[in-house]
Amino acid sequence: MDFKDILAEQEEYVRDLRREFHMYPETSWNEKRTAKRIKEELEKIGISYQKYADTGIAAVIEGSKPGQTVALRADMDALEVEEKADLEFKSKNEGIMHACGHDGHTAMLLGAARALYQIKDELAGRVKLIFQPAEEMVQGAAKMVEEGVLDDVDGIMGIHLWIDLPTGKINVEAGPRMASGDYVIVEFTGKGGHGSMPHQAVDPIVMASSFVLDSQAILSREIDALDPVVLTFGKMKSGSRFNVIPDKAEIVGTLRCFNEKTRVQASKAIKRYAEKTARAYRGEAEVTIQKGTPPTINDPRAAEIGQSAAKKIAAAEDLIVMDKVTGSEDMAYYLREVPGVIAFVGAGFEDEEQNYPHHNSKFKINEDSLKIGTKLYFNFALEFLEQY
């Protein structure tokens, strides 16, 4: 059977739905209208669903024959950004904007669901649709996993519309794709005193400065040179007056890694450097590493399936390789549980002037990317159930 017509029928539907979601963006954990609309659309198609993680939804399309269960994931939430893009379907919710493309993800998954439902008699296995809240707070996926959304799932695929890729290009690659993101907070405690009598005090600014410098050697001396790690301290606060030695210095930073082992290794080294450096200056350090997202790692076999799905809708030269990025994505929580992939679907304009980074108040996607994403969801499900 030719699926082309079935898929072509979804194009307008997906575009209109995405524009609607774009007009009514909702922040993380407040995706109430979005959830209501998703349920309405699923009901129209005839797919039953279940509530997960408060505003999240999971729905299953049962094939006629037994087989594996493949999950397709879309995120739903928007950002606290005042939209400055000039669009006829500009945000109607003040101070909130779909500035990352999640409106497209949700619309594409509903389009793919409509198409898959039409061919369900030909499916060997089940397709699970996951609509997830609170990706921007990197909490939604973890919560859905905790509530068991993956318990019956054999593999998963998620899409990110990606402005840094021109529309038409697709990237599905095995291995680490996005970094882990952990907060590193170090509080150095010395002893306050008068700036003119440093010997009576223990200076926490010298301690913190020494640590900021020395800890860079973790990257260059302790971590495998082939394994990228980023350690940035973005904030340092200490002191109140030019002639008063403060008693504390606080620094806050971010640690980015592409595999769990390195993440643990680097965290331990940071703690050791902070504590030992503080000791050397007669002070103390308290290190808190607030764990954020794990690294997002694509399974090799699932990536192969993703590539063969992509080849069905794109020319070989449009299936490109792309460097992994140091940003984070909570898709990582699913990929830790079951084999799967995150695919990057190009959404950039040919005219560079129109491309603004994700999260920018002028961010917009090339709508031609929507049909590509819809097809990729659809084809991945078919390929996975056939091949895996």
């Binding site: 003119s196 400065s209 940035t232 200490s238 002639n243 806050v252």
Partner: protein
């Protein structure tokens, strides 16, 4: 002449009538003693050759009064100068007026480090001003230990380091502020240039740029050998040889140093501490009070110094 923004907590019948203001450092005593000395000297003016100039100076606590009076020419016709601090760290009845460095030069520095902001996960696209700032803090520590004569005390403290807003955003600048203290005029002269070099070159190695603001608040207060000897003699005449004691120099500052930088000078500490009379709180404390006996000593010492200095001049 000036007082402090301090709510007086003493229960005395001459307690401050001005809300939130208090003579918490003894300047009331300095002014009264100098007026008393003026009376004495005026009575004796037939007996000395020369001129006694009385300087009543504002704005000492913010270290601008002396500087401004010097600029306006107050010491242009002056051959020597003598100042007194009534001092609660010294027992009432004791006087210290040693030659050499007595109080430190107080300087404030502000270092702005300009990098280039970016995302914390992509440090290569920015220039990290926290890294550069940390390196500046560390390298500044070597100035005192590596560039100055070990016999010359000096202090450099970075007391404020502020930068950034979030752990994962690379900020574009860092703000450092601190103080230097020293007792040598040479070091005080060189300090600014050395800090500028260390900060600029260090930041440059991290691709960042530096802007230094350096504010000389007080100069080293150095007592002249001869003037101190004259003052010591006057002190012995007023309070007896046994009253003269030695007191360590302090890292605090005094703007009398701007006069002392212009003309030969001596600065005396006149003891005012008397626990039995409840005069034992430190300077700038809301319960600061002095043993009023110190006023007699200070008045006499001012007058005696003037007479002795002018009479010595006559002998020459």
């Amino acid at each position: 002449m000036d007082a402090l923004e301090l709510e007086e907590k003493n229960e005395v019948d001459y307690k401050s009538e001005n809300d939130g203001l208090m003579h918490g450092c003894g300047h009331d005593g300095h002014t009264a003693s100098l007026l008393t000395a003026a009376k004495i000297l005026n009575d004796l003016k037939a007996e000395f050759a020369g001129t006694v100039k009385l300087i009543f100076q504002p704005g000492e606590e913010i270290a601008v009064g002396a500087k401004t009076m010097v600029k306006e020419g107050v010491v242009k016709d002056v051959d020597a100068i003598f100042g007194i601090h009534i001092w609660n760290d010294l027992e009432s009845g004791k006087i210290s007026v040693e030659a050499g460095p007595r109080m430190a030069a107080v300087n404030q520095f502000i270092i702005n480090i300009q990098g280039e902001g970016g995302h914390g996960s992509m440090p290569h696209q920015g220039v990290d001003p926290i890294m550069a700032g940390a390196a500046v803090v560390m390298n500044l520590q070597t100035i005192v230990s590596r560039e100055f004569d070990p016999m010359e005390p000096a202090v450099l403290s970075v007391d404020i380091f502020n930068s950034g807003s979030k752990g994962n955003v690379l900020p574009d600048s860092s703000y450092l502020e601190g103080t230097t203290r020293c007792f040598s005029r040479e070091i005080n002269h060189d300090f600014e240039g050395i800090i500028a070099r260390v900060a600029q070159e260090t930041a440059a190695s991290y691709r960042a740029e530096v802007e230094l603001e350096y504010n000389k608040m007080t100069l080293p207060l150095i007592n002249d050998q001869e003037i101190s000897a004259t003052a010591k003699k006057a002190a012995a005449e007023v309070s007896g040889q046994g009253s003269i004691v030695k007191l360590d120099k302090t890292t605090g500052g005094e703007d009398f140093s701007f006069f002392a930088a212009e003309v030969p000078a001596a600065f005396a500490f006149v003891g005012s501490r008397n626990e039995a009379k409840g005069a034992d709180a430190p300077h700038h404390h809301p319960e600061f009070n002095i043993d009023e006996e110190a006023l007699k000593t200070a008045s006499g010492l001012y007058a005696q110094f003037a007479l002795d200095f002018l009479n010595e001049g006559e002998v020459e």
